[in-house]
Symmetry: C2
Amino acid sequence: MSLKALIDDNRSAIEADPVKASATFAVTGHLAGTTEVAICARHHGLTVDEPPALAGADRGANPVEHALIALASCQAVTYLFWAAQLGIELESVHVIAEGDLDVRGFFGFDQNVRPGFTAVRLKVTPSGPESAGRYEQLADAVDAHCPVYDIFSNATPIERNVAVTAS
Amino acid sequence: MSLKALIDDNRSAIEADPVKASATFAVTGHLAGTTEVAICARHHGLTVDEPPALAGADRGANPVEHALIALASCQAVTYLFWAAQLGIELESVHVIAEGDLDVRGFFGFDQNVRPGFTAVRLKVTPSGPESAGRYEQLADAVDAHCPVYDIFSNATPIERNVAVTAS
C-alpha cells in the first residue's frame, strides 16, 4: 500500500470512528547500573547511559541525546509522510539535531538557568527532483505537524505520581 | 569518586570557569528504509522505526516512544544525582512514562489537534530506607532540575535550516 493510500485509509477510519485517532504510548525504565537505565518500549529494549564525566559507563546515548534522537527521527518520518500528502517526490532526507545545555540547571548551581536545552538547531537536507521552493513548502508542513517538534516547541502537561516502596 | 564528590568538583570547576558549564549534544539521522531512521549519537548507532500500521517494519521504538525514553531515563538519572545532592539514600528507581497522542494532529486531519502528546503521565517508584516525605522532597527537586522534564514542560527555541540537495 502506498503512503498516500495509508493516509487516506486512516482518514476514512477516523472519520467513521474518531476514537481510532487516539493512541497511548508507554515505556518503562529503571536504574540498572550507576547511571545506566534499562528501557523497554513494547518489545524493544535499549540502554541509556551517561558518559564517564557524569559517572556513567557510556553504554548508550544519554537521556538528552535521546530527546534529539526523537526529534531527528520524527522529522525524517514526517518529511516522508508529508511528501506523500503534498505529492512531493522525496528521494532522501538527512537530519542533524543539535542542542545546547548549560549543566548549571541540572546541578542546581544557578536557579536562573533552565535544566533543558537553551537552544536547538535542526539542519535538514531533503533531496529529490523538485524545486527548492517545494522542499521549503514541505519543511513548513513538517514543522507544523511533526509530533516531537511540537513537544519541543510547546508545553506538554505532565501528571506525575510518586509511589514510594519501603525497602 | 562518589556522586557527591563529582557534583562538588563540577561546581568548583564551573565557578572557576563558567564556560565549562556549556555542552552541545548532536545526533544525525537519515531515512534508511521505508520509515526506518538510522541514527548516530557520537559512537552510538541505533534504529528508529514505525510499526506496520504506519508503514514501517518495527525495527526499533518509534520517534514518540524515543521522546518517552528520553523522559523516563532522564528522570531515573536525575533521581540518582539529586538523591546524592540531598543526602537521601536511594536503592532503586523505576519509571513508567505514558503519552497520549491524537494522530489527527500528525496527519493534519484536524488543525485544532496538536501533533504532539496531549497528555503525559509519569509514574515513579523510588525505593529505599527513607520516609515517604523524603522521597516526595526528592521528586520535587528532580522535576525542577530534570533536563528532559523541562523540555516537555516548557517551550524550547528551535532554529531550523533546510538545505535542498539537487538529485
